[in-house]
Every structure is written in C-alpha cells, then in structure tokens.
C-alpha cells in the first residue's frame, strides 16, 4: 500500500465549468521525492492543495497512511510559492507559531514543553542556516531567506509529507541553485516524503526520484511519469555532463514543448 495515494481525483471549481483536474491517480512511497511539472494554469497548485486538504476533490480522494485527507493539518506542511510568512512576526516567531501548534499534543505529535519547543525552533532555523537572522522580520530579509524560513517552518512541523508549491520560482538563478542544494541535503538527511511543484525542468530532474508530467487543462491529467534513477547524492556540476541526466532532461522537455505545448495565451 502506498504511503500517499491520490486516487481518481477530479475537481471543478463550479458546476458549469469543466473539470480542472480529471481522474488523477498517483502513488508516492515513503521518503520519495516527486516533482509535478506542467504548464502554467494546468492545475498543479490545485492538485497540491487537494493533497494539503485546502481544497476538496469533487470526486476521488487522497489517502495518507491509509487515512483519508479531509482537512489541512501539520502532517502535510506546505511551503507556498510566495513564502506566506506572517509579516508582523519575526522569522523565529513564524516558525514558533507553527511549532506551538504542531506540538500542542492534539495534532499528531506528543506534547512538548516550552523549552523543548524553543530549542526545536532554533534547531530548524539552524537547519536552513537562518539562525543568524532569526529575529528579523520578513520585510528585512531577502526573498531566498524568506523561502528558507518557509521551509524551516514546514520542516519544524515534522510533517509526513512536505508539499512545495514552486518554492524557488521567484528567486534568481544563483539563489535558486543554492536552495536546491540545501533542500537535497535536507531530504537526504531527514528522508521526508516530498511532493514539489515546479516548472523548471533542470530542477525537477536534479531533485526528484520521479517526475510527474501533467497534460494541459482543462481536464488536466497525468501524461507521463519519469523515473529519474540517478544515484544520490547528486552533484549539479557532475550531472551536467551525465548522459542519464541529459536523457531525462530531454524526455521532460520533449513532453512539455513538443507533445504538450503551452496553450495559446488567451485574451483576458
């Protein structure tokens, strides 16, 4: 039985509109790193939000360790595309708020004392190398740092699944590469199950065990799933020349730009 199982999920946002996602099924194993790639607007975020419990599928459903997902919770931590840190809290307080909730004894984890929670917050800030800026407010740090705090907040909940919605989409190339390496390192260390949305082919191949390629909406579905099969740990420089990496990359590019080209942009 799969660890996380999306079965036959369809969703429409109104009765008259066509389904956004149609009959999506996907099984993810414990500890697996799965990327979802597809053109903008095809329904990637919608799929992630259904797994998070933020949206309900019209038909079909999601099972996590054989429990049906019917509402959001800290066992499925989300890193949102635009960091979503609360601007009135410091970085530390942002993480602390999530930790206080996740370890209050009623949300799956055993209760932890104040001191334990404070130490755990610090541990996670150090994990993303943000210990030094912990007491700054989100407005005072760079986009890459915000995203790291968002990742620390999600990891600090000790989720069963980490859901990343284009976590590096808004960052410049150097910062993005740096954060990708950090996420790879964290995944190797913590063995968290990850479902990541991206539109960056290199990122998908570099980070993932499997790449789920989605067809264009409406009624988007899974077009193809690629087993990346590159050994870990992975090194972006070494991989750049690696035939297996190049082949995987070509396969995804071919899917996205030859067989399922982006739909013509429509006048708004």
């Amino acid at each position: 039985m799969a660890f996380l199982s999306v079965s036959d999920v369809s969703i429409a946002f109104s009765a008259r509109a066509p389904d956004v996602l149609s009959h999506v099924s996907l099984d993810i194993a414990r500890g697996e790193y799965v990327s979802i790639i597809g053109h903008s607007g095809c329904g990637k975020s919608t799929l992630l939000n259904i797994v998070a419990g933020l949206l309900r599928a019209t038909t079909g459903g999601v099972l996590l360790e054989d429990h049906e997902v019917d509402s959001p919770g800290p066992d499925r931590a989300v890193v949102f595309q635009n960091h979503s840190l609360l601007p009135w809290l410091t970085c530390r307080e942002n993480v602390r708020l999530a930790v206080d909730q996740a370890f209050d004894g009623a949300n799956g984890h055993p209760r932890r004392s104040r001191a334990e929670r404070a130490a755990w917050v610090q541990h996670n800030l150090d994990l993303v190398r943000m210990g030094h800026a912990a007491d700054k407010r989100p407005a005072e740090i760079s986009g890459g740092m915000k995203q790291r705090i968002g990742i620390a907040r999600a990891l600090a909940m000790q989720p069963k699944v980490l859901l990343l919605d284009e976590p590096f989409g808004a960052l410049d190339a150097l910062t993005r590469a740096h954060l990708q390496d950090q996420v790879m390192e964290l995944h190797a260390r913590l063995r968290t199950t990850v479902m990541m949305i991206t539109h960056d082919v290199d990122e998908a191949v570099l980070l993932s065990d499997r790449i789920v390629m989605m067809t264009n909406g409406p009624r988007a579905g899974i077009g193809e799933i690629l087993d990346v099969g590159l050994a870990r740990p992975r090194n972006r420089l070494a991989l750049a020349q690696d035939p297996a990496f190049i082949a995987a990359r070509a396969r995804v590019l071919e899917f996205l730009y030859s067989r399922h080209r982006a739909p013509e942009p429509q006048a708004a």
Partner: protein, 280 residues
C-alpha cells in the same frame, strides 16, 4: 555661541559635541527652510491685505496686540468661562477622548462582526451606509433630547461621527486577510480565539488604524461645531463667544490652536498605528 564657549575655555569639550550636532542642525534647517519661508510670506501677505485701515479682519500685528495674552498665558483661570485657551482645549480634548475611545471600541467590535459574519454584514451594512452620511451636527438635537444634558450629548456626537470609518475600515480589513495567511492558519490548525488574535487582528490592524485616523480627524471637526451650540467650557464655545463679543483676534488665535491640536491628534494616532503594526 562658539565664541562664548571659547572664551570660557571649554573649547576642547564643546568641539566634538558641536561638531556632531552641526550636520544635523544643517539638515533640519534645510528641511524646515521652505516651510519658514512660506510662513513668512503668508503672514506678510495677510499683513498687507488686512493692515489697511477699516479692514474687516485683523492683521497679524493687531492679533498680537489684542490677543497676545491668550498665547502667553494659556492656563489662566478667572472662573466661569473666562479661562485660558489651554484649559478650553483641554475640556474639548477630554470630550474627544471619551467619545473617540467609545467609537474605537464599538467601531472595531462592530467592524469585526460585519467583516466575519455574512449575516451581520447583510443586516447591518446597509444601515451603516445610510447612517454614516448623516452630518455630525444633525445628531445633536436628537442626542440632546435623549440625554437632556450637554456633556453626554457632545460625547455622543463625537462617537457617532467617528464610529463609521472605524467600522467600515475594520470590516474591510477583516475581509481582506490574504488567502495565503488563511491557508497558513488552516495548515497549522489555528482556529477560534488563537486565529483571531494571531492572524485576523494583526492582518486587519493597518486597516483599523486607517479608520481610527479618519475617525479622530472627524471627531475634532465635530466637537468644535457641537461645542458652539451646546456652550460651556471648550474651544468651540470659546470661538462662538469671541464672535459674539466681536473679538476677531481671539478667534484667529483659537483657530491656530485648533489646527495645531488637530494635527497633533492625527499624528498621535498615526504613530500609535506605526508602533502597533510595525510597518506591516
């Protein structure tokens, strides 16, 4: 000044302090210079326009001659209504403080209700939209009829004037809590009172303070007008009284004070908002 200091032999001690202060003084001078020039120009124009014999309004020199006492002694108290401007202003400010505090509490409460409950919104919002267009002074007769006393009536007029922008801005702020923050709260299962205190209130705070700032301005507008009608100690009645005794110079001085106090009130609320929302 530096010469005096040098003569007293404190040169070495005074130099660094003055040296550090000097750029700041220059900057302050540069920033204030346009304002000072403008003030001199305006007062000069006023003097030219009103300085002719037979002018209906007093020129600055005449205002100073007639009413410098009011400026120099703001806190004299000869009993009854014969008090310094400071005391009149203080009486008005007390009324504003009470009325505005009530408006802030009631307005934020009602705003939260209307912002969070669809039913409350449908039931109350149309009523608010109509009532908020009633001019402040139109409430005065009915509140005098209800309270039968000047003091609570004046406070009620402040309240009813200031409460609408607070309600409306609070409700808008509550409804405008970004979906991202709501989603974060849902993922970490922040609900009920915790959601209210940790997400809703801070997210709405900038809107609430916008409402409070509009409200304090309107309060100050309303109290002056209301006091003209109800009498007693207060800057509004002082102006009305001065008009009745043809002390136009007193009125000019009082207007300057009213403007300055209104400005300070606005800045105080803005500053409080800045402290509370910490620039979010």
């Amino acid at each position: 000044m530096s010469i005096t200091i040098a003569a007293r032999g404190h040169l070495s001690a005074a130099r660094p302090a003055l040296g550090a202060l000097w750029p700041a003084l220059v900057r302050a001078g540069r920033a204030l210079m346009p304002l000072l020039v403008m003030l001199v120009l305006l007062v000069g124009l006023w003097q030219l326009a009103a300085g002719r014999p037979g002018s209906a309004l007093p020129a600055p020199t005449k205002v100073w001659a007639d009413s410098s006492d009011l400026i120099i002694h703001p806190f004299f108290d000869h009993g009854g209504l014969d008090k310094g401007l400071g005391l009149h202003l203080f009486a008005s400010l007390q009324r504003v403080a009470v009325g505005f505090a009530l408006a802030a509490a009631g307005g934020i409460g009602l705003g939260l209700l209307v912002g969070t409950s669809q039913i409350a919104m449908r039931g109350l919002d149309p009523i608010f939209q109509v009532l908020r267009t009633v001019p402040p002074l139109a409430w005065l007769p009915i509140s005098l009829a209800a309270f039968r006393e000047a003091q609570p009536s004046a406070i009620f007029v402040i309240f009813i004037t200031a409460v609408w922008p607070v309600i409306i801005n609070t409700a808008v702020g509550v409804r405008a809590v970004p979906t991202d923050y709501r989603n974060v709260a849902r993922v970490i299962r922040l609900r009920g009172a915790k959601y209210f205190l940790r997400i809703l209130l801070p997210a709405a705070a900038p809107f609430i303070f916008t409402g409070l700032r509009i409200g304090i301005g309107l309060s100050w507008l309303a109290i002056i007008a209301a006091e003209m009608l109800i009498g007693g100690v207060g800057i509004g009645f002082f102006i009305w009284d001065a008009w009745n005794s043809s002390n136009i110079s007193d009125i000019v001085v009082a207007l300057l004070y009213v403007g300055l106090v209104g400005f300070i009130l606005d800045r105080l609320v803005a500053f409080a908002g800045h402290l509370v929302t910490r620039g979010t």
